[in-house]
């Protein structure tokens, strides 16, 4: 582990691109184009074959660079990488992203030898390395962008930080988040992680004020890094939620023989325990992962366990009650004083018991009056609004009201809507107002549970 801090990767003033080229469909071109279009600092293409690339002066070698670059990106064939890294070390560059593949991941003796050489050189010159065999960094705030996947849509600036062991998944997820309008602060794919790994990146994003939620895709941590990972994540989780998707959940068979405990301790069960100890929220599926990210982005902590449901559809209210109860939530009986107030404001055919059913002839006004009552109460910890928009009386003013409420209310406000375009439209408007919307009761319940679990961790550690 090299000692230099990794902040330069994300805030460099100058960058050298080793392997920059004007040739179409080359990684070195895509990366250079990324920097030209968004990066405000000095850019130095390096390639012995050109005097100029895409309008920039091109340097024949690293030695010729006018200054040690804060950051270097290497995109040249694997056999040439060690000498480039060495030259960068001699030049005084301390942060290097190695995009090139052809190392340990090939499983060949030559690949392993080349990678070992990189490790040695990086130690000798105290260079921090991300990669090799990775797609590197996509930084929406500084313009550092080595994601060379041209067909990927880039997500808007925002507050989700993403650490990924898989480059392809990182690309797909950025594309997906762009499509769904979820903003990203910085995304990092670290590939073979010969130096910079999950622990370093977690620490960095933990301290990064542009990142409000950290999402991690992990296959496996490096040997011996587990305890430090727990310690680091545990500290970060007190400040911001860390959501993990762990891939590779099947058990390791090889150790089974020696003891009972070893036989039970498949990789995954120990990871699960570790996540729990570190206050990390684990997502068990892709859907759940993104649901959890969304609820964390928009909702405050959930301080207690009691959920009140307001619905225009009795059946969906019951479905949601079941889903919430199976996740361990209380869907309490409406307290007597609230029941009386509801009776006074609602027509007699409405049901004042929780789930509070405004029935299919409801208008926006009924929602507004009930929400107004619920939002003020200390015995309500979260409000789930079921708004099936197919009924004739709903015009949508309750959505504006929810937006106003969201600004004052210190409880999570979530919504459920099911249907075609009309439902999508409702969902979109609700999201604009900061209400987290779900399409199924089960997904709502699971995401809310993640928020509740995280809240418990934070509350516990604030007291400690």
């Amino acid at each position: 582990m090299n000692s230099e801090k990794i902040t330069k990767f994300f805030q460099p003033e100058s960058v050298a691109i080793i392997g920059a080229t004007p040739k179409e469909e080359k990684v070195g071109k895509a990366i250079l184009e990324n920097f030209i279009s968004k990066f405000k600092g000095r850019i130095y293409p390096v390639n012995p074959q050109y005097d100029e690339v895409l309008g920039l002066k091109c340097y024949k070698s690293i030695k010729d660079l006018p200054e040690p670059p804060d950051l270097a990106v290497i995109a040249i064939p694997a056999p040439l990488v060690p000498s480039a890294l060495k030259e960068l070390g001699e030049k005084g560059c301390k942060s290097v992203v190695i995009i090139s593949g052809g190392f340990r991941e090939t499983g060949t003796p030559e690949g392993i030898r080349l990678e070992n050489e990189l490790v040695k050189i990086s130690k000798e010159y105290d260079i921090r390395v991300i990669g090799p065999n990775c797609i590197g960094i996509f930084d929406n705030w500084s313009g550092v962008d080595t994601f060379f996947t041209a067909k990927m849509r880039k997500p808007p600036r925002g507050h989700v930080g993403f650490i990924s062991q898989s480059g392809a998944f990182a690309t797909a997820l950025m594309d997906w988040m762009a499509y769904h309008g979820i903003g990203v602060s910085r995304a990092i794919s670290y590939g073979n992680k010969i130096d910079v790994d999950d622990v370093d990146l977690l620490e960095f994003l933990g301290a990064d004020d542009k990142t409000k939620v950290i999402l991690m895709y992990i296959e496996g941590l490096r040997e011996g890094r587990g305890k430090l990972f727990i310690e680091t994540a545990g500290k970060v989780a007190c400040r911001k939620p860390v959501v993990v998707y762990k891939a590779g959940k099947t058990t390791r068979g090889g150790r089974a023989a020696s003891s009972h405990t070893a036989a039970m301790a498949g990789d995954y069960s120990v990871y699960r325990a570790a996540f729990k100890q570190a206050g990390i929220i684990e997502a068990e599926s892709f859907d759940e992962m993104m649901d959890i990210v969304r609820i964390f982005l928009d909702q405050p902590l959930m301080k207690g366990n009691r959920v009140f449901i307001v619905t225009d559809a009795g059946g969906v209210g019951v479905m949601l009650t079941d889903a919430l109860t199976s996740e361990g939530f209380d869907v309490p009986v409406t307290p007597r004083d609230l029941r009386e107030k509801l009776r006074n404001i609602l027509p007699p055919h409405c049901i004042v018991e929780n789930p509070i059913d405004l029935t299919g002839d409801t208008d926006d006004e009924r929602y507004i009056r009930v929400l107004e009552l619920l939002a003020k109460r200390d015995d309500v910890d979260a409000i789930a609004v079921v708004a099936l928009p197919q009924i004739p009386g709903l015009k949508g003013t309750f959505i504006d009201y929810l937006g106003d409420l969201k600004r004052e209310c210190d409880k999570p406000l979530v919504a459920l809507t099911i249907g075609s375009e009309v439902s999508m439209k409702t969902a979109e408007k609700l999201r604009e107002k900061g209400i987290t919307v779900f399409e199924s009761p089960e997904r709502l319940a699971k995401a809310l549970k993640a928020l509740r679990n995280y809240s418990l961790y934070v509350i516990k550690h604030m007291v400690d």
């Binding site: 496996g220 727990i230 405990t261 070893a262 039970m264 325990a273 570790a274």
Partner: protein, 234 residues
């Protein structure tokens, strides 16, 4: 002997598994409750010590070369007098000599049979990524079939250990089931915490199984302790 001496001794003898009495001694050093056990070498020795141990008595052959003790006639349960005990030792030694003539015999371990109770497992293992890790589960089918266990990475506090106990799906069984009194969860948690410490302080240990730990309304007893050392320590 201290755990360090016991472990070094085993490694010097090229063993990667501690013998029963050694494992008990290591556990006991860390305050894990185990039955009072003695190692005897002759029927006469057993005869003299039986009254002091108390009845019913369990006898087991101790040999680095024998894994399945019952298969070679190396186990006797529920012996109720010193005569039975000395006879038992004689038989075990004879059985083993006949069925495993090449096995090196260290002696016979004898201890008072623990009264029946709820059986749980506490274990520990060294993980490549996380280092020492502890496990808890209920005995028998709960672990073997349902894999209903919980883990924590060391160090674990009493609070962590209690959480591990309540986390398994079948944890209700511990709170009293079909008229059974509730089991002593604090006593189990205490054993988990001590197992974690044992594992952290002895890096040569690859894994430890306390299986079963018998839990009572008050207290718990680890009646079988198995400690495996890492290969290639010496």
């Amino acid at each position: 002997m201290t755990p360090r001496e016991i472990i070094e001794n085993a490694l010097n003898e090229n063993r990667n598994k501690l013998l029963e009495h050694e494992a008990f001694e290591v556990a006991k050093y860390y305050g894990i409750p185990t039955p009072t056990a003695v190692l005897v070498r002759t029927p006469e020795e057993a005869y003299d010590l039986a009254d002091k141990i108390g009845y019913p008595i369990v006898l087991k052959i101790v040999s680095p070369d024998i894994t399945h003790k019952s298969d070679v006639g190396g186990v006797k349960l529920g012996l109720k007098s010193k005569e039975e005990v000395s006879e038992g030792v004689k038989e075990i030694l004879k059985n083993v000599q006949n069925r495993a003539p090449d096995a090196k015999i260290v002696g016979v371990i004898m201890y008072k049979m623990a009264p029946p109770g709820l059986e749980v497992i506490v274990g520990g293992v060294r993980d490549d990524v996380f280092g020492s890790v502890v496990m808890f589960g209920l005995g028998g089918i709960f672990v073997e079939v349902l894999r209903d266990v919980s883990f924590r990475v060391s160090p674990v506090s009493m609070e962590d250990a209690l959480e591990m106990i309540s986390e398994i799906k079948s944890s209700k069984i511990l709170s009293g089931f079909r008229g059974q009194p509730p089991a002593d969860k604090e006593a189990i948690a205490d054993i988990i915490v001590k197992t974690s410490k044992l594992l952290m302080e002895n890096q040569e240990i690859e894994s430890i199984d306390l299986n079963p730990v018998i839990v009572y309304p008050q207290g718990a007893l680890a009646v079988d302790v198995r400690i495996i050392l890492k290969r290639g320590n010496k």
